[in-house]
C-alpha cells in the first residue's frame, strides 16, 4: 500500500467540481510529476493531500490516514506552495530556526548553503524578497525539511532559468541522498523530463494518464500526411490540420514494425516530446490557436 492513495476522490466548491472521482496511487520514494493545464485541479489535489482541504467524496489516505486534521500526517508531510507566509518581523535565519525546531529531519547546513548559493541573505526579511526570490526561499525550505513526503506546487514560479536549473539539480541530489516521496506539480514538463520517474496527467479534475516517464517518452508518435493516408490509423490521440490537405495526427505508439510500415507508405513519423503529448492529450476538442485568427 503506497503512502498516498486516492479512491474515487471528488472535490466540489459550490457548483464547480474541481476534482472528479479521481483514483490514483502515488508510488513511494519516487519523484512524481503532477501535470495538467491551468484549472486542471492540481493545486486542489495537493491541498487535499496536504490536509489543507477536505474531500467532498471518496477516500483519500496519506500514510494510511485521512490527511485532513491529522497531526501525524502534518508532521511527516511538507507542502511547498506560493502562499507560504512568514512572520512579518522574521529574518530568513529566524525562519530556518523555526523549521529546525518544528521538523526533526531539518538540514540546517543544507538550508544555509542553498540560501547562500541562490543569493539569499539570511539576514534579509522574506517580505522584502522578489517573487522569484520568495519562490527560491520556499524551494530551499522544501529541500531542507526532509519529511517522508514533500509536495511542491509550481515551485519555480518567478524563478529565472538559471535558478530553475540549479533547483532541479539540487532536488535530484537531495532525493538521491535522502530518498523520499516527492510530488511536484509544474507546467514545465520539458524541463523535468530527466528528473521525474512518474507522471500523473490530469485535466478538468479527471485522470488522463498515469505512467512512468520512460514510457511517456515512447507513448505516442506524430504522423504527418494527407487525410487519405492517415485515415484508418488507430488509437488517435490528437488531430490537427496543417493546410493544403496535410494533417498532423498523434497516435499511440503502434510498435516499431508498424511504424516502419507507415514510413514505407510515405508518411512522416516523428517522436512526440512528453510535454507536447500532455498538451495534445488535454487539448482535445479545443482546436488550435490558429483557429482563433
Amino acid at each position: 500500500m503506497s503512502d498516498i492513495q486516492l479512491k474515487n476522490v471528488t472535490k466540489r466548491y459550490r457548483q464547480k467540481t474541481a476534482i472528479s472521482s479521481l483514483t490514483l496511487d502515488i508510488p513511494d520514494k519516487s519523484m512524481t510529476g503532477l501535470v495538467g493545464p491551468n484549472g486542471a485541479g492540481k493545486t486542489t489535489l495537493l491541498n487535499m493531500i496536504a490536509g489543507f482541504e477536505k474531500t467532498t467524496d471518496g477516500e483519500l489516505t496519506v500514510f494510511g490516514e485521512e490527511p485532513f486534521d491529522h497531526l501525524n500526517v502534518a508532521a511527516n508531510l511538507f507542502y511547498v506552495h506560493d502562499g507560504m507566509m512568514y512572520p512579518q518581523d522574521f529574518r530568513i535565519a529566524d525562519v530556518f530556526r523555526a523549521f529546525q525546531t518544528n521538523y526533526p529531519h531539518w538540514d540546517q547546513a543544507l538550508a544555509e548553503q542553498l540560501a547562500q548559493h541562490f543569493g539569499l541573505d539570511i539576514r534579509q526579511m522574506p517580505r522584502y524578497l522578489s517573487k522569484g526570490q520568495a519562490s527560491t526561499l520556499n524551494a530551499v525550505i522544501g529541500l531542507a525539511v526532509h519529511t517522508p513526503v514533500t509536495l511542491f506546487d509550481e515551485p519555480t514560479t518567478g524563478m529565472d532559468y538559471g535558478v530553475r536549473r540549479d533547483f532541479y539539480r539540487a532536488l535530484l541530489k537531495s532525493y538521491l541522498a535522502t530518498p523520499r516521496t516527492i510530488v511536484l506539480s509544474s507546467h514545465l514538463l520539458n524541463e523535468l523530463e530527466d528528473l521525474l520517474e512518474h507522471v500523473v496527467l490530469i485535466n478538468r479534475g479527471e485522470l488522463v494518464l498515469q505512467t512512468e516517464m520512460d514510457d511517456l517518452k515512447h507513448y505516442a508518435v506524430g504522423v504527418s500526411g494527407t487525410e487519405e493516408q492517415l485515415n484508418g490509423l488507430e488509437n488517435v490521440l490528437y488531430q490537427e490540420s496543417l493546410g493544403f490537405n496535410q494533417h498532423f495526427w498523434v497516435i499511440e505508439h503502434p510498435g516499431e514494425s508498424d511504424l516502419n510500415r507507415l514510413r514505407e507508405q510515405g508518411l512522416s513519423v516523428a517522436p512526440v516530446a512528453p510535454a507536447d503529448l500532455c498538451v495534445y492529450l488535454t487539448q482535445t476538442g479545443k482546436g488550435d490557436i490558429d483557429d482563433v485568427f
Binding site: 493545486t43 491541498n47 490536509g51 489543507f52 482541504e53 477536505k54 500514510f63 486534521d69 491529522h70 497531526l71 501525524n72 502534518a74 508532521a75 511527516n76 506552495h81 502562499g83 507560504m84 507566509m85 512568514y86 512572520p87 512579518q88 518581523d89 522574521f90 529566524d94 523555526a98 523549521f99 525546531t101 518544528n102 521538523y103 526533526p104 529531519h105 526532509h146 519529511t147 517522508p148 535522502t178 530518498p179 523520499r180
Partner: protein, 240 residues
C-alpha cells in the same frame, strides 16, 4: 528517513513557541494603542466645573479608564487577525491540526491577557507620576496601594481574557461560512442591546462587585467558550 509520531502536547508546545515569536507585533500594537490612550488621559479623563460669586473652578480627574478601554478594544480586534488567511497559512506551514491550532491560539490569548494587564498597571503608575510632575495644581485624592494595583492587574487581565476569547470564538464562527460574516455581528449586537437571555448573563458577570467571584465567573465562561471552540469547531479549511 523515519516516520515521526507527533503528540498533541509536543505540537501545542511548538506552536505556542512559534506564535509567541511570530506574533510579537501584537504587543507592539498594544504599546502604541496604550500610548495614545495615555496621551489622551494625561490631560484628564473626566472634567466638571462651576462658578460662584467669588470664584470659577474646574475639576479634572486623571485616571486610567481610557487606557483600559483602549486595551479592551485591542483585545476585541486581535483574535480576528489571528484567524486571517495569512496567519493560517503561516500556522499550517508547521506541524498542526485544528485542535492544536485552537489550543495554541487560546494559550496565546492567555499570554495576551497577562501582558496587557501588566502594561496597563505599569502605564497607570506612569500616568499618575507624570500628571503629578508635569501638571500644576494637582491634588492627590487617592494613592494606589499594592492591593489596588493587584486588583487593577487582575481586573484588566480577566476582561482582556473574556473579550479576546469571546472575540476568537466569534471569529472562528464567522469563518465557517461567508453568510456568518454578516449575520454574526448582527446577532451579537442584537443579543447585547435587546432583551434576550444573554443580557442577564452579561449582567451576571459585569455587575459582580467581589473580585474573587468576578474572577470565578470569567474563568468559568472562558472555559466553556474554549471547550466549545476546541472540541466543536474543527472543520476550517486552509484555503489558498
Amino acid at each position: 528517513m523515519s516516520f515521526k509520531e507527533m503528540s498533541d502536547k509536543t505540537a501545542i508546545v511548538q506552536q505556542v513557541r512559534f506564535k509567541l515569536a511570530a506574533f510579537s507585533l501584537v504587543f507592539s500594537t498594544l504599546a502604541i494603542i496604550q500610548l495614545i490612550a495615555f496621551l489622551f488621559s494625561i490631560t484628564g479623563s473626566q472634567s466638571s466645573g462651576g462658578m460662584s460669586d467669588v470664584m470659577v473652578y474646574q475639576v479634572t480627574e486623571i485616571n486610567s479608564n481610557l487606557i483600559v478601554i483602549f486595551t479592551l478594544l485591542w483585545a476585541l480586534a486581535i483574535p480576528f487577525g489571528m484567524l486571517s488567511r495569512d496567519q493560517r497559512q503561516m500556522e499550517f506551514m508547521f506541524v498542526t491540526n485544528r485542535f492544536v491550532s485552537h489550543v495554541s491560539n487560546l494559550v496565546f490569548i492567555v499570554w495576551m491577557a497577562l501582558v496587557a494587564a501588566f502594561f496597563t498597571v505599569a502605564l497607570t503608575l506612569t500616568l499618575h507620576v507624570t500628571a503629578y510632575v508635569v501638571l500644576d495644581d494637582v491634588s492627590v485624592e487617592t494613592i494606589l496601594s499594592l492591593s489596588d494595583l493587584a486588583i487593577l492587574w487582575l481586573f484588566t487581565g480577566l476582561w482582556v481574557l473574556l473579550i479576546a476569547t469571546t472575540s476568537y470564538s466569534l471569529a472562528v464562527l464567522m469563518r465557517l461560512h461567508t453568510l456568518l460574516k454578516v449575520i454574526g455581528p448582527a446577532v451579537v449586537l442584537g443579543l447585547l442591546f435587546y432583551q434576550t437571555p444573554v443580557a442577564p448573563f452579561i449582567e451576571w458577570i459585569v455587575l459582580e462587585t467581589t473580585i474573587a467571584w468576578f474572577a470565578l465567573k470569567v474563568l468559568l465562561t472562558v472555559s466553556v467558550i474554549s471547550l466549545v471552540v476546541v472540541f466543536g469547531i474543527r472543520q476550517l479549511e486552509v484555503r489558498r
